[in-house]
Each structure stands twice: as structure tokens, then as C-alpha cells.
Point group: C2
Chain length 375, copies 2
């Protein structure tokens, strides 16, 4: 993998990642394909929405369909029919959200499947081996994620183990085709975030994620932690803020120097009838839209907005028709990808500040704050 920093605008960065399955222009948003599918959408849909790279979840794929089938299929790309870059998370976030169904030790974590109660174990080594076996472009190290708010000792322990596991994950790498990114922990503690970043940067990973956010803290706390952490990461490596997916949060984070994002937010909203636009969000089931023959977002050129009206989508959702979630998920992803595209152009052309202020000036009172639930 190669990362090139092309332009900056203050802390905001315009970059390019060259990966085995293609080039990713940054900043970029990665739609979440939890179980080897972005819910309801095909690879063609994702291309149409300008998605460049897709995320999938190690935890879910490990349990179903499992490594054997994914390897027999020729890897995750061929299995899901997406030939562009794929990033898989390490499963840490999901396993640590299992609460009383997992047991942590220094070498890994035992957990019970949420599907059938079967016992499994994740280690820094076996999660890297799994992701490499899937042939993904970017793998994440197994990290120890703590729900916020958390006591300092718990955060310290998560930073300690995350660094130790990152070192072991790094040593376990066996494939040239999969780049392994580390994940900075430390909660909202400034000193711990800095320590986590410093320890991981010393290990010289090709990219760094900021983890342990979007897990219960306020939006302002999240922004402050992201900004602080980004400042401790090397400028020549991509930076990835995990679990962030509203227009305002992403624009704010790009302004802090973040390059990559993922979140279930646009697809979860899409399934529930919540439409995202640059100007704010609204619920398509509201009575006002049953007679509204304008597109979901007049500034959007996605298939949904080119083809259908709010009235039609309102009808689909009121009728329980599965086409509704599909069309709105597609639109919501397209909005984020289009904001990213415009953001990249703004950084290149020196108009980033105006772009940022225009988007952040919009009312976000209608944005949900819990953007990081497991789908």
C-alpha cells in the first residue's frame, strides 16, 4: 500500500491510497458491509454511489459464513462480488460490546457467538491471519475497546494491551497484499491518547485508526479526542476515525486531519426511513412527504433522486415495501460520498474553509447521536 498526501488546507488533508484492488482518494467514507453485504445494496449500487472502498466485519464473517467458505470462494472480494478495496475491522469493537459473553486475558479474548452461543477466541495473531486469508486490502489489529465513560485504570489497561497486541499483530503479518493498521485507544484522556498514539507510531504501521470513540461520549468530546489524537499521528500515513458517519461529524473530523471514515449510520437510517441531506435529515414517513413530488435531495444525483420522489418513497415505507430501505440506503451513502468528493475538491482548490463552514452552518439538531450501534 502507498499513501500520498496531495494537498492540505489547515489540518484537512487530500490524499490518495493505492491498494491492491484499486486507488482510494481521501478523505473517503467506507460503507459498512457487515456480513459481506452493504445491507440491501449490490456492488453496482455502491459504485453508482461513488463508494471507493467497503468495510466488512471480521467478527460477523468469522461466525458466518466462516473462514473455510470465504477461502474456498477465493476470498472476500470474489465472495461478495466487490472488486474494489476492502477494509475489515478486527472484531475488537464487536467482541468488547458483548459484555458478559467474553473473557479477556493477556493473550486474547474468549467469547460466545451471539448467533448460537458457540465458543470462540480472538487473538492478535489469528485475527490478522483471518483477514489475510480473506485477501482484504486493509486489516485492523485486534484492539481492546472500552465503553465510555470509563475509569482511568480500565483505559490504561486497554492502552497497554492494545499496544502489546499491535506489536504481536505486526509480527504475525504474513501477506504483502494486506496492509495492517493499528488502532489508537485511550478514551477521552488526553495523556492516554497521546501515549497510545506514540507507542503505536513507534511500531511503524502503514496507517492508524482512532478507535474507542462513538461509544457513549458526547459529540464534542468525540471531536476533541479525534483532533488531539490526529495531531500525534504521522502526516505521511492515512488516519481513520472509526464509527463516524454523519455529514457534520465527518466534515468536522476531516477538518481535524482525518482521512477515512466508516459507519452503519447511512444504511441504518436508510432502512428506518431517515433521509440524509447536506442541509439536515428528515423522516420520509412524515405526513408532509406523502404529497411531495420533489426528489429526496434536489442537490443529489444518485439513482434514487434521479428516478423517484419523496411521495413514492413515503408510499414504499408506509407500505412496508423493501424497495424503500434499499433506495434510501443508496441515497444516504451517495450523500456522504458526494460530500467527500466535494470536500476533496475544496481542499484541492483552496476553498475548504468555505465548504466546511457552509456544511457545518446547517442545523444538526435532527441528527441522531448514537451513530455506532452494531447493525
Amino acid at each position: 500500500m502507498r499513501f500520498t498526501l496531495l494537498h492540505t488546507a489547515g489540518a484537512a488533508r487530500r490524499g490518495r491510497m493505492e491498494l491492491p484492488h484499486g486507488t482510494v482518494e481521501t478523505p473517503t467514507f467506507m460503507p459498512v458491509g457487515t456480513a459481506a453485504t452493504v445491507k440491501g445494496l449490490t456492488p453496482d449500487d455502491l459504485r453508482g454511489a461513488r463508494a471507493q472502498i467497503v468495510l466488512a466485519n471480521t467478527y460477523h464473517l468469522w461466525l458466518r459464513p466462516g473462514r473455510e467458505i470465504l477461502v474456498e470462494a477465493g476470498g472476500l472480494h470474489r465472495f461478495m462480488g466487490w472488486d474494489g478495496p476492502i477494509l475489515t475491522d478486527s472484531g475488537g469493537f464487536q467482541v468488547f460490546s458483548l459484555q458478559d459473553r467474553r473473557t479477556l486475558d493477556d493473550a486474547g479474548v474468549d467469547f460466545k457467538s451471539h448467533l448460537d452461543g458457540s465458543l470462540h477466541r480472538f487473538t492478535p495473531e489469528n485475527t490478522i491471519a483471518f483477514q489475510e486469508a480473506l485477501g482484504v486490502d486493509i486489516a485492523m489489529v485486534l484492539d481492546v475497546c472500552v465503553k465510555l465513560p470509563a475509569e482511568l485504570p480500565a483505559l490504561e489497561e486497554s492502552v497497554r494491551l492494545t499496544s502489546a497486541w499491535a506489536q504481536r499483530a505486526r509480527a504475525a503479518r504474513a501477506s504483502e497484499r494486506t496492509a495492517v493498521f493499528a488502532i489508537v485507544q485511550g478514551g477521552l484522556d488526553e495523556r492516554l491518547r497521546e501515549r497510545s498514539a506514540r507507542e503505536l507510531v513507534a511500531l511503524d504501521f502503514p496507517g492508524y485508526a482512532i478507535g474507542g470513540l462513538s461509544v457513549g461520549e458526547t459529540r464534542e468530546e468525540m471531536r476533541a479526542a479525534a483532533r488531539l489524537t490526529a495531531a500525534h499521528l504521522p502526516s505521511n500515513k492515512p488516519r481513520y476515525l472509526m464509527g463516524v458517519g454523519t455529514v457534520r461529524d465527518i466534515v468536522t473530523a476531516v477538518d481535524c486531519g482525518i482521512d477515512m471514515f466508516d459507519c452503519v449510520y447511512p444504511t441504518r437510517c436508510g432502512r428506518n426511513g431517515r433521509a440524509m441531506t447536506r442541509a439536515g435529515e428528515f423522516h420520509i414517513r412524515n405526513a408532509a412527504y406523502t404529497h411531495d413530488f420533489s426528489p429526496v435531495d434536489a442537490t443529489c444525483d444518485c439513482y434514487t433522486c434521479r428516478t423517484f420522489t419523496r411521495a413514492y418513497l413515503a408510499h414504499l415505507f408506509r407500505s412496508g415495501e423493501m424497495l424503500g430501505p434499499r433506495l434510501l440506503s443508496l441515497h444516504n451513502i451517495a450523500v456522504l460520498e458526494d460530500v467527500m468528493r466535494e470536500g476533496r475538491e475544496a481542499i484541492e482548490s483552496g476553498s475548504w474553509d468555505a465548504f466546511r463552514d457552509r456544511l457545518l452552518g446547517s442545523d444538526d439538531s435532527r441528527e441522531a447521536s448514537d451513530t455506532a450501534l452494531i447493525e
Copy 2:
């Protein structure tokens, strides 16, 4: 509307319908878009599966979103984003399946909505006015449908009223752009089918449907009634067998001289994991397919078969992922449309008998018999 009979092969016919929204090559299968959407699929998907004309249900659209919104939208085509021909049924089949929620009189039928219990009334006149207001290419007359097996008096009464209503529907026509088809009733009674056909043919409709089948009779009874009825219909008008949608039933009916078909079968099967192929049907959830990396149907060139494996679809269905029903619905429609295309070519090229025998020679023991449930 203009219908041209281009070729015949025994009773089988190769024709062409020219309609306000496009040309339809017959024989043809019409995917069912009950509530102004073929479940899970977009107009682009339908074009990709070679669908030429789509069916929608007057009963469902009357209740939701209702006439006002559909007219404000500029008609059903614009509302649902499908610019090809549309046929709407009259609502008769649905209303008469409501059993104790409807009251029949000589002038129409009162019924209670299955959605909210609200009271409505269908008449031959208002159902034609509704369909014309929607701007559809083909409207169906309101008919009286009887569940089989039925006593002779009930069948006689349904034939009498259906003819009377057809006359009134014909007189109620007000638009040049919507062709109105009549519906032959008479159950499995040879004499009544003939009488119904004769009375309706005397009224000179541009097309005729065979109704009241796929409602409880055996497959052989259905075939015999379709063959008999077709023989009493004029050769220069299209013939439409309502509610038939398996490969074998359609091929058999084309061989009886039928030109048009509709059924929820391919989409209902698709949602439930049942894959249709020329060689038979199978359930994608069966364990055998979890490791099967061949396409659903190796002879099919639909998007699903070009892009994904049985193993992937098996995974989607086992994971409850909405992409599974979407992809399999698309495939099942594509199979029927492709069989229709090959059938048309076979009639043209004089190879219909061989084509028919090849398809009917396959084992249909796995086909379901209840192909006409309301979606």
C-alpha cells in the same frame, strides 16, 4: 392499442402489442408490482431482466396511496418510475378473496380495507375510471371471481354478472390511451366458460383474460380450462391467463394459445429463497449450497447469475440479509422472461414443439401448486 399476430406453431402464438408506453412482444410474462413496486426491484432491474410490461393491483393502489396521490404524481408510470407499459387488474380477484369482508350486489361490491377496515365500493365504472386516471396502458374490467371448487349456480351467477359488468365497464371508457380487457369466468365448467367467452367476445374488447383459475383447482384442471377457453377467443386479440407463473405452467399455456401471464410466484419464491431454473426449482437455504460456488443457474445471464454464487446467496438468506430476496427475485423474473424470449424465437423459427417438449420434460415435482396467493 394494436395487436399483430406474427407467427403460429400449432395453437402457440407469436405476437406484438403496440401500447402507448411501448411495444410488447408476446408471449410475455408480466412481473407483479402490487403496490406500485415489484417487491425489492427497481425499474432498471426489471429492464435488466428483460421485463417489457409490469402489472399493478387496483385494489392495493386504491387503498394506498390512493387515487389523489397517483393523479398528482402524474400517473402511475411517473409515480413508480417505470416508463414501459403497465397493466392493472381490476381488483376483482382481491376483493372476492376478502370473503366475509365484502358484500356483492348487482351494481358492484362493497368491501372493507384489509389495512384499516375502512369501507369502499368497487363498481365496473369506478374501477375503469380509476385505472384510466392512473394512465395505464391496459385496464381490466371488474369481474366476479369464485373460489374453486364451486357449485354450478355460483359459477353461473359469476358469469352473468361478469358479462353485465363488462358491458358497463365498456360503456364507461373515457380514455383513448387505456385499452380495456374483459375477463372470462366460468370455473371448470366447459359450457359456462364457452358462454362467458361468447358473451364477452360479442362486446368486442381489444383483449381477453382468462380469470378464475389458479384459485384452488388442480394443475391439470387449470390447463384444460385454459385450453378450452382460448379456443373460444378471437385469434386477432391478445389472450391473458391471470395468475400463472411457473415455467411449466407458462410453457403449457403458450402451447394452448395464451399470450400474456402474470404471477407473484417468481418474486414470492425469490423472497423465500426458492430459486427457479429451466431445469426445476430448489431452495437456496439447503445445506448443499453453502459450499456451491456456481451461479444460481448456469444458463442464465441475469445480474445475479453473472455476479454471485449459490454459496453467497445461501449466506445472505441464512444471515437474513435483504440483498438475498432482492437478488433471487431478480433472477426468478429473469428466468421467466428468458424462457419467454426463447419461446418467441422458437415459435418464429418453427422449433416450438422441440422447445416445449424440452422444458416440459423436466421434473416439476418440486414446483409449488399454489401460485396465485395475494402478495
